[in-house]
């Protein structure tokens, strides 16, 4: 609880409607999309401009109040849960697209801009902002940068970090820091955008971004490939990449997911299939058609049965099936744990086999789908958090999935971040030296550990 005089100071900065302290208001910022124990902040502030943010930071520093920045709160790692209480700072009040520059192909946006709004604005100007995290209709750009959000197009187009050209932020001393800029080449000083991307709110409060836009591809072709053995589907993925072809998307659904999606949507998926691949090639028509012939041959060699989406409706139906994967699974059990361990692409078959073994070993319900093309699978564990015995098995299964991912030269998290969900595993992947370096870095810019404390174990 903050003292009345302290609340008064916040009010002086933000005005009467700019903050919440009542328990029934602050409770609404005690969670994110990761299933964990909620923690209620003492105060939630909703600044409208950078000046207010600067003053909030100064006040938090002077009064020793932890400060957690939050956009839409769609993150899947507990990253915006204020575990040390304190102040939650909402960026949703800064939601303007400041510039879409067609000639120089960049956008300047505020932190609270919703990803889909930027993507749509880019399309209106004949341009393309490729990062498309599953929550793009609600997630904010600030959150996307803080978590380095990925999506379906990672394989060919990369993730948020590949589009971040510039970032403006405040450090914990209230200094206004400008990293990067609008030029393609820029080497003045540290690569601060590179530092801030996936910093999960630990190094500063980001307010403004310059993002790269690219020309929209002119032609695309989508197809569905049906397999009676999921390992063959995984091998197809590895071989397509080995053939030096980069599909815009290359998604996998396992049999459990196929059946669940079909039950929920009646789209007409082949429920007898052990696995499906959804492939989209895009670019220049000639190139797409050439690549298509190669992909076709690879699929056929591995006994995949190809169905091409001839019409726009067919195509939309395919992607709807993929988009509905998570939600259809979510309807089956009360608790859903979505993992995102990622391996190098050639190791996808090995990872898939391990997930199958782990599912059996711990007697769990796991549906697996995901961005097979970039090595990022989403084993989705369906459980009930009230079932203590099963939750223990879930935890062990997760430990094994992580261990296997690391063994296959992979990572604990491809796109959901560390937060506190994966904090205890981090050292296992990066080693003690890295943790020490991160600690020193953090201590240097935030000596009192006020910015999103305890996340990543820091």
């Amino acid at each position: 609880m903050l003292s009345k005089s302290l609340v008064k100071k916040f009010e002086e900065i933000l005005g009467q409607g700019g903050y919440f302290t009542k328990p029934e208001d602050t409770m609404c910022y005690s969670y994110d999309a990761f299933s964990a124990e909620p923690v209620q902040p003492d105060i939630v502030v909703k600044p409208k401009n950078e000046e207010q943010i600067k003053q909030i930071i100064t006040l938090c520093k002077n009064e020793n109040i932890p400060l957690v920045t939050r956009g839409a709160g769609t993150n899947l790692s507990g990253g915006t849960v204020p575990v040390k209480k304190g102040c939650v700072l909402l960026t949703t009040g800064l939601n303007k697209i400041l510039e879409i520059n067609e000639n120089d192909m960049y956008a300047v946006v505020e932190a609270g801009v919703v990803t889909a709004n930027l993507a749509n604005a880019a399309v209106k100007n004949g341009l393309f902002y490729p990062p498309d995290p599953g929550s793009m209709n609600i997630s904010t750009i600030g959150g996307n940068v803080a978590e380095n959000a990925g999506g379906l197009r990672g394989l060919k187009y990369g993730v948020t970090k590949d589009y971040l050209m510039g970032v403006n932020f405040f450090d914990m001393d209230g200094n206004y820091v400008k990293g990067g800029g609008k030029t393609v080449k820029l080497v003045t000083g540290f690569n601060l955008p590179g530092l801030m991307v996936s910093s999960e709110g630990l190094l500063g409060v980001m307010t403004k971004f310059v993002l790269k836009l690219i020309p929209k591809p002119k032609f695309s072709r989508s197809m569905l490939v049906i397999y009676d053995d999921i390992i063959k589907a995984c091998e197809t993925v590895s071989e397509i990449i080995a053939a030096k072809i980069l599909p815009a998307t290359l998604e996998l659904l396992d049999n459990f997911t196929i059946k669940t999606v079909e039950d929920a949507t009646k789209i007409g998926l082949p429920t007898a299939a052990d696995a499906l691949l959804l492939i989209e090639l895009d670019g220049h028509e000639g190139q797409v058609m050439d690549d298509f012939e190669v992909v076709k041959k690879i699929c056929e060699n591995l006994k995949g049965n190809i169905k091409i989406a001839e019409t726009v409706e067919d195509k939309n139906r395919l992607w709807e099936a993929r988009r509905k994967a998570l939600s259809s699974l979510a309807r089956l059990k009360p608790t859903l744990i979505l993992e995102d361990a990622t391996v190098v692409r050639s190791k996808i078959p090995g990872m898939m086999r391990a997930i199958q073994d782990i599912t059996k070993k711990y007697n769990l319900t796991i549906g697996t789908f995901g961005h097979a093309g970039d090595g990022n699978l989403h084993p989705t564990i369906l459980t009930d958090k009230r079932d203590k015995d099963e939750m223990l098995r879930v935890e062990k299964a997760i430990d094994e999935i992580f261990a296997k991912a690391l063994e296959l030269e992979g990572t604990l998290s491809g796109e959901h971040g560390v937060g506190f969900a994966k904090a205890k595993y981090l050292e296992m992947e990066v080693g003690r030296g890295t943790i020490e370096y991160m600690k020193k870095l953090k201590k240097g810019v935030d000596p009192y550990n006020l910015l999103n404390p305890q996340k990543m174990g820091l």
């Binding site: 969670y31 999309a33 299933s35 839409a72 209709n137 609600i138 009360p334």
Partner: protein
Amino acid sequence: MEDLIKELKELEELVLQCMKCGTCQAHCPLYQKDLNESAVARGKISLIESVYEGRLDKAGSILKHLDYCILCGRCKENCPSGVKTDEIFLRAKAVLRKIEKLPSWGKVVLKIVMEKPDLLARVAPLMHIGLKFGAKRVKDDIFKPLLGSFSKRNIKQVASKPFTKTHGGLHKADNEKMKVYFYPGCAANFLFPEWGEAIISVLNHFGVTVYVPEINKCCGIPAATLGEIETYKKMVDENLNHINDIDCEYVITCCPTCQYALSEMGPKVTGIIANKPFFDILMFLDEVLGVNFEVKLNERYTTHIPCHYRSTKKERLKSHVAKNIKGENITLENQSCCGFGGTFNMKKYDDSKAVGMSKAFEVKSKGIEKLFTPCPGCAMQLTDAIVESGSNAKVEHPIVYYAREIVKSGISKDKTEKGQ
């Protein structure tokens, strides 16, 4: 208090379905306006959870957030996990209403609207006269009351006699091929009697006999949204029992909210099920009778899809209008809720109006001359907002247009897909 927490905990199975993904943010008209988590379903659900899990001790304090909801159901319709938000909120409000009593205005309104439909019918002429003299005429039959909290509103004139008073009873069609029960609902009964008249005339034209109840009994949804669930149950019970007693094949409605209250939510809370299917008038014409109107309209028009329109029929409604009204059909970028929400509009007029205005401004900027909507609530709200925006667009139910065209150009009685 312990009982209350126990009752809230009964919602746990429904509450646990929410995985807190936040998808509802994209669809909630109030979140889009305020960008506050307490407005959106995920926030409200976590508040309910916090009470029964003991993290919030003042249970009553969350009612204001639960009440800040249009109950448009868009969160439910778009929820990836299929969370039954409407049921959770209505039931939670009913529980919390036990500690936070209804304000007296609410009690009076409910008492009259629910329990004394006859009294309400008798005061209608007075309201009609009251509006005539106590209000400024804005245009046609739209008035702006002069006094009190209603003076910001542009409201439609109240009928001098309610529809069920003038039209209660059996309206036999020549060459009767079918019989239906028409449930007008309060809004059509008092404010849009011309909708009811149009429905009778169009249905009679196509050989459908229409039974109209002599007294209109409210569907009960205002009681449910105020947390008075027992009153709601009583109204559902009375209406469905009456409907079940009448010999006919279908129940026709012209208010999607009434239809939702009686045929979707009603059976869930009372266990009583109607013995005949409910159809919105347009879907009845489209799907059951297979009528083709294909009338011309020389105005630039758009259609507002009511949130409570049965979700499986929304696409069909769009194609129905596009197919049957030939003219310059504009699709608005804003496909969201009108913001009305019945009791929400009474409690939170400024918030309700703000949601409606964003749509009205688009109607104005696109030079739309007619806005069709098959819901009296949406029609009231959008009339208010459109007048306020300075647009001249007229708000109308398509059925009124069809009825007029039948009289004008005499659409053939056999002009049905099935007849051809």
